[in-house]
Amino acid sequence: MSYNRINGHLLKKAIIHAAYVLRQNKKVVDALNVFPVPDGDTGTNMSLTMDQAAGELQKLQSDELKKVVDTAAWGSLMGARGNSGVILSQLFRGFSQSISSNKQSISPLEFAQAFKSGVDSAYRAVIRPVEGTILTVAREMADKMLADSRKIDDMEKIFANALSYGEKILAKTPEMLKVLKEAKVVDAGGKGLIFLMQGFLEALENPDLTESALEQKAEKTDAFEFRDAEDTIKFTYCTELFIRGRDIDLDLLKQELSDLGDSIIVTGMEGVAKIHIHSNHPGEVMETALKWGELSNIKVDNMKIQHRELIKKQETDVSHDVEDMHQPQKTEKKTGIVAVSQGQGLKDIFISLGADDVIEGGQTMNPSTENILSAIEKEPFENVIILPNNKNIIMTAEQVKLISKKNIYVLPTRSVPQGIAALLAFNPMLSIDDNLAGMSQNIKNVVTGEVTYAVRDSQWNGTKIKQGDVIGIKDGQLIVVERDKEKVLLALIDEMVRGKEYGIITIYYGQNVDASSIQNISDELSAKYANFDIEYYNGGQSLYYYIVSVE
């Protein structure tokens, strides 16, 4: 049958059937499960997730499209088990969010867009998407669907195309994820998704299936897939080799190999080609290769045996070499951070938050350009961000830019709390521009207060300040003058939290403050600002009794 729209009734049926097909094949999927934890339950988890979605759909009286997708999203969320189950629920969630409530049916393009939105939502829920998993398979299928739906107006055809494309991608997952390659399996979650899609397609192809026919059809799938399950591997031998020769035509070589097996990868550079192929005739592979040049590094593995061993291994719960489960990651940090602060406590805080170096300096003891420069030159990084943490040092830091050959970025932090806030926004995985943007944003959210003493007599707004008076400064503005530093702190915080209902008050106390006075005010503060989290750190700075931040 050919459609150009899918309505709620059909979608409901298709999801229920998809869940059914997956349930029948969950053991196949279980057997593939080596990532992230080889506990052989991916299929079971996915199936339980889908079962709940299907169960909720069966209970649903309405055939209204929006209700159907929302119910599926809700059911899969409630039923979500395991990593892949949670991913599935996100796919449904994104899908349902993309469907507006007045729609009665959707076109292939709308379907593809909804699927894509599901994929986006699944990707958003993870800081480090691991490629070569269900995520990859889903994304590629969604992209394929999107591309096709602009050309073809037949849901079934689009779906069939996406499915076969998805299978191709699935076959490539071992190339993307080392642990899969070593276990000689494709990704379990991806395989589960393929089963779901198969079920979905079956329901599209034959929407008139009654429930019992659905059962039968599904059982057939089951029997077939199970035979397949005993060895999901159609080709027994994984063959890899190098060819050394001149003028190797990689495309032609690939074509010659294409009849001999699947999972073919032919790569090469000048004078050398590498072949990877799954085949039942490794000898023929070598014969074909021999035509092009000299062979070396020949490796033939029996994947059936390896697969059996893998399953045995899983059953006896023998551990795998987990180090290899980690994908190679770019851990190289390209950006260094140099902060300026004063006092051992603050220095420790900066270092613990990821600063590479801390230059001693602050009010009345500005580091010289030379100080900053030498700190920067020590860094092994090309890019260095400077956090001056004082307005008088910003200028000095800017000078360094002119002298150093490195790429220097000065983030104009005017206080220690701003510096800390900026540092928290730093993510070595991001580009320097993104980092600078994020860090600058964080600086704006911080209110800084400083409690210090007057070094000489002066006057401010008609108030006389005597030498030795304690003064409270909020973002560079003098707020309060008192004799007692705790009183100043309290008044200052009062001013800083004005207009805020909740937040975080962080107090860095200096070297001239003893622990008992902290104890005294801490009780008072927690009683007074019940909605705020209050934190104390020994900053160890001189000059300032207290540095306070409110966020």
Partner: protein, 117 residues
């Protein structure tokens, strides 16, 4: 101590930081976790930690007979939080057992925040 492995030639001691980093890395591979939060500033500045600083979102309590690991995480709004957290526990347990040969007595996950986006 629980972090010492003895063999006939001597002892291997694994520092807390290593344990924390391994646990943090394992957790990051879990789906649904969008970040880890510093435990140091735990109650306050809840900010995502970059990769470099993962260990800070992990607290390792180590005594003579116990190894307890606390992870401070942020998850995505709309995921099943208990499931994401139990995936994290499983994965961390698995990795520590396999890489270090340690069997943590307890792995606690503290969900410090949810990201809504």
């Amino acid at each position: 101590m629980k972090n010492i492995i003895k063999n006939s030639l001597g002892e291997i001691e694994i520092s807390r930081e290593v344990i924390a980093l391994l646990a943090g890395n394992a957790a990051m591979e879990c789906y649904g976790l969008v970040g880890m939060v510093s435990r140091k500033m735990s109650d306050g500045i809840t900010e995502l930690l970059g990769r470099e600083n993962l260990g800070k979102g992990v607290e390792v309590q180590l005594t003579d007979d116990k190894l307890v690991i606390d992870l401070y995480i942020i998850v995505q709004y709309g995921t099943k939080i208990n499931e994401v957290a139990s995936n994290v526990i499983e994965k961390v347990h698995f990795n520590l057992k396999n890489i270090l040969g340690f069997d943590p007595d307890k792995i606690n996950v503290v969900v410090q925040g949810i990201r809504i986006k």
